[in-house]
Symmetry: C2
Subunit: 220 residues, 2 copies
DNA sequence: GTCTATAACCGGATAGAC
DNA sequence: GTCTATCCGGTTATAGAC
């Protein structure tokens, strides 16, 4: 019914990039709106009409670009997954535990600040049993996790850091950094009904690094 | 259809406490079912029919005990809030930071293990903007938080622990302990598709205490 | 590609017999 | 207090004109 094929295969004269550009722009618009709606009301609570309204398009157009609500949700989740991996990247660039952990925590905190809705969609998906991202957890997250825990164990055996359970360490990093995105509404209440400023976020990042690095026997 | 209550309430004249006992038993049954359904699909995703089915009562009976779905949700949330406070109690019993933090973290981890669905309902409520518990956050959580952060600052000024930001410390404790409940599905995947055993939970509790206490300059 | 109108469906809530 | 049948509002998805 839609399909890139249709967009590509045009007879008259729209420029080569015309329809494709329209599609990409509208898909992006709709996905951004969907990310916010899904984050604020859950998959079932979000309505295609509210998403369309937020995106500034008629509801029928949303269904023109994404055949079903579930399809749209999947696309949003995939996008968040890609983003999630990007935050993990700094961890690959060094073999020094202090640098690696600081870089990783900082990247995750930046992500929490810059894209809180994506983090919330991910959180709700996992809380609800991860029906959609289950295969992703097995094929992507688990291998990543096993490689990283092995790396931490190597550092421990080399005496570079305290003998802590890598599982507990990674769970703590994930939980703490994502808390700043996921529990934003609660944090705001405790911050005199103001969302954390950039300065407060930077300070929080520094504190998280300090406690965790000190906690595993590294210099903060 | 089934229900212990029905078996208890035999034919003629129920004792003075008969109806009240029936009501309490059925309300408890329905609320437990609701806690699971709300946790697994969110407020909008949970259907009164699924809750009733899980509780083993007809849907009309659910509406007899709880006039609306929102009313039922409120009751579940209130119950979870009470439980949440109970976990905070150990923090009140001592003025030694090591004992207080260990006790608090342990209580929160026990809660994550024993009542994961309650934690998940709370998490989804906060993620979605805390529309229902907003006043609770202001009237209960915020005073608690301010009292506790002041206490931590007192310990810091007395040189009993490192000068960390109490906000970062409490967020880390909340995030990490609740992660074991909220992100259970993800944790299971990383644990070879098995939920954490009691032994693993105890070990995790110990590790969390070790990293955090060491992180703030206390003996674990 | 865009948009209005509507079909088809589902879920919350209730009526009223037992 | 229990339960079946039903109403009604709201949501997804589509038909069909532009």
């Amino acid at each position: 019914m839609n399909s890139a094929a249709h967009a590509i295969n045009m007879k008259s004269k729209p420029k080569a990039t015309g329809k494709r550009a329209i599609r990409e722009a509208n898909e992006r618009l709709i996905m951004e709106a969907a990310e916010q709606e899904f984050a604020q009301t859950g998959f079932k609570g979000a309505t295609t009409e509210a998403i369309a309204r937020r995106a500034g398009v008629p509801k029928a157009n949303l269904h023109y670009y994404f055949s079903t609500k579930a399809d749209l949700y999947n696309r949003v989740i995939e996008d968040v997954c890609g983003h999630w991996l990007a935050a993990a990247e700094p961890f690959d660039k060094t073999d020094d535990p202090r640098t690696a952990l600081r870089g990783y925590i900082t990247a995750k905190m930046d992500q929490a600040r810059m894209r809180p809705y994506g983090s919330r969609v991910w959180a709700m998906e996992v809380i609800c049993g991860a029906p959609v991202i289950n295969s992703y957890l097995h094929t992507v997250l688990k291998p990543w996790y096993e490689k990283r825990t092995a790396q931490v164990n190597t550092w421990i055996r080399a005496g570079k850091m305290n003998p802590v359970d890598p599982q507990a360490l990674f769970f703590m990093i994930w939980a703490t950094t994502q808390h700043y995105a996921d529990f934003g509404p609660q944090i705001s209440v405790l911050n005199d009904d103001q969302i954390l400023s950039e300065g407060q976020f930077i300070r929080a990042t520094d504190q998280v690094c300090q406690i965790i690095l000190t906690g595993v026997g590294l210099k903060p």
